[in-house]
């Protein structure tokens, strides 16, 4: 024990400086209250990582495309850089969230599907909104995403632990194309109906093939 005269407190032997005012103290020894030295856990923060490189490249490409688009607008009066930018952001998501991430595969598919839908919608809008994205691409990709999730759940036998939440989420997302139809943004009904019927059948299938387990899982997820 040493007294720190500046702070008026006694400082434990393990310290060669006062923890309150950093005044150097003479004695240093062992103590029961000592903490680990942390030397190994102080790590140098890496200035260069693959994720940072991709982020930088993506931002550079977006800035460049907007610049070129703006400078050549008098020659080609189209805002093509928006499509390029959305595409690049989509690519960035693919790298960051799908390839470099260790999140659960169900979440990856869900996220990926939402990003893809936005990307397709943007392209559709900027090439004169013919409605192919909302009519066909988005609902059909939704069916595909649900299908992949179901297959993975069966193959990996992880349905009850992880996947069912995402499959339920896909069911609600697949309901969205229906809204597009109601609000007159979409003129083709069969694709939306198909995606809803498909996810409904998936859920009915789960109920039939797994009885009690499913009911308890639903209760747990919805929290009754």
């Amino acid at each position: 024990m040493t007294k720190c005269i500046r702070c008026n407190v006694t400082v434990d032997n393990q310290h060669n400086r006062c923890p309150l005012c950093s005044k150097p103290l003479k004695i240093r020894g062992e103590s029961a209250t000592e903490y680990p030295s942390y030397k190994e856990v102080y790590q140098v923060t890496k200035p260069f990582t693959v994720a940072k490189l991709f982020l930088f490249l993506t931002i550079s490409a977006i800035v460049l495309s907007i610049t070129i688009n703006a400078l050549t607008y008098h020659i080609n009066p189209r805002i093509w850089s928006i499509i390029v930018s959305t595409g690049l952001i989509y690519a960035w998501i693919v790298v960051k969230d799908t390839i470099l991430s260790n999140k659960h595969i169900g979440r990856k598919i869900l996220y990926h599907y939402v990003m893809l839908s936005i990307f397709l919608l943007v392209i559709d809008i900027f090439v004169g909104f013919r409605g192919w994205s909302t009519n066909y691409a988005i609902p059909l990709f939704g069916v595909a995403a649900t299908f992949i999730m179901t297959m993975l759940a069966i193959v990996q036998k992880s349905l009850w632990r992880h996947d069912i939440g995402y499959i339920l989420a896909m069911f609600f997302i697949n309901l969205c194309p229906m809204l597009l139809f109601v609000f007159n943004l979409s003129h083709v009904i069969w694709t939306s109906v198909f995606s809803i019927v498909y996810s409904l059948l998936t859920i009915i299938g789960m109920i039939i093939f797994s009885d009690r387990k499913f009911i308890s899982e639903i209760r747990r997820r919805f929290h009754y």
Partner: protein, 423 residues
Amino acid sequence: MKKWYKLDNAAKLFPSVTNTKNTSVYRISAVLTNPVDVDALQQAADTVFDRFPMFTVKLRRGVFWNYLESSTDKIVIAEDQQYPCRNIDPTTNNGYLFKVLYYKNRVSVEVFHALTDGNGAVEFLKSLLYYYLLYMGHEIDTEDRILLADSGVDIHDMEDAFRRYYKDCYVESVRNSRAYHIKGTAFEQFGNNVVHGVVSASQLNALAKQKGSTITAYLSALLSYSIYQTRIKYSKSNAPVVIAVPVNLRKAFPSRTLRNFFGVVNLGARITEDTTLDELIFRMNEMLKYKTGKENLQNIIYNNVALERNKATLFVPLFLKNWFVNLGFHMLGESKRTLTLSNIGNIILPQQMNEHVELIEALVYPSNKSPMNCGISSVNDKLVITFTRNIVESDILQYFFSTLAGEAGLEVEIYSNDWGISE
């Protein structure tokens, strides 16, 4: 089929607001008289496993709610290597939301707040230490103060006491102004620095009594005063200093639950050049007395439960809930408090355990807006005041401890983990 539990009413907040800089992980440690024996500690952890099913759970994300799923994986004890109250990575640690750590003479339990509050963690630590000492060959009479592994799980341990004591009542929402916030320089490497100050519990208690106050009110006042003297005095701010004090609700509303059952009361004061410390102690004590009155605590329970009882929230997807909870936490919680001072109180151990336990420490995780928090705990007449901070500046605690030693005349003994200090 694995068993599962709903998160209790206080716990729902934590998964939404947690990140690497606001970890919601607190630590309670015991410094023993002898170095820790790893095998005996692991054996003790294995023994208490069955008695604390509320701890051996993993956090799962549902579509609309988070929930806890029980697990049979072992509790793996580990050597303490990282800074305290670091966020718990659910992909390690067998997916558990708490850790049992050891280093030299110290046994620490780090707990994600969604599992339980300080009271529950202390019960766990006591049982763990009891079996540890037993396996080290000591004979101990439990005096009925320890939850034993073979006593079976009590249904009351698991209750969400918020629900039991929920009563519909009218609560006036008070618009409080923003509190003063402590600013500081981040450590070169993000982490938590801990400074402990040990004083005599009976001497501090006598001192507080002499001022007509309790330990919690006295230390809250001294801390507010320190913040004024070191910071606010030299700034243009006239924001109030607000100390958030978690209150164990089990005292006013009897419950044996090992889950969360606490409320937070705010002790605020606008301090000026003319405010004296004695005056501040008086004000803080009155406020604490009033705010921990049964009626006021009943309102806290109401506020905790009311939102969840709203049927509409049943169908809001989890990610949206997280977003709203986060917003509410920052607007209503974090911005209205300067720091948290948590007093887990005097821990009474069986007589024969006392000689093996030197100190009990309570570490409250800091966050971005509240970069320094305070935890208080005592055992065997030794009271430890712990500051956990993620900023370099130590001016406030220097003033605090110096005043405690100088003007109050207490013997203060300081030690620290020196995070970010030693080169």
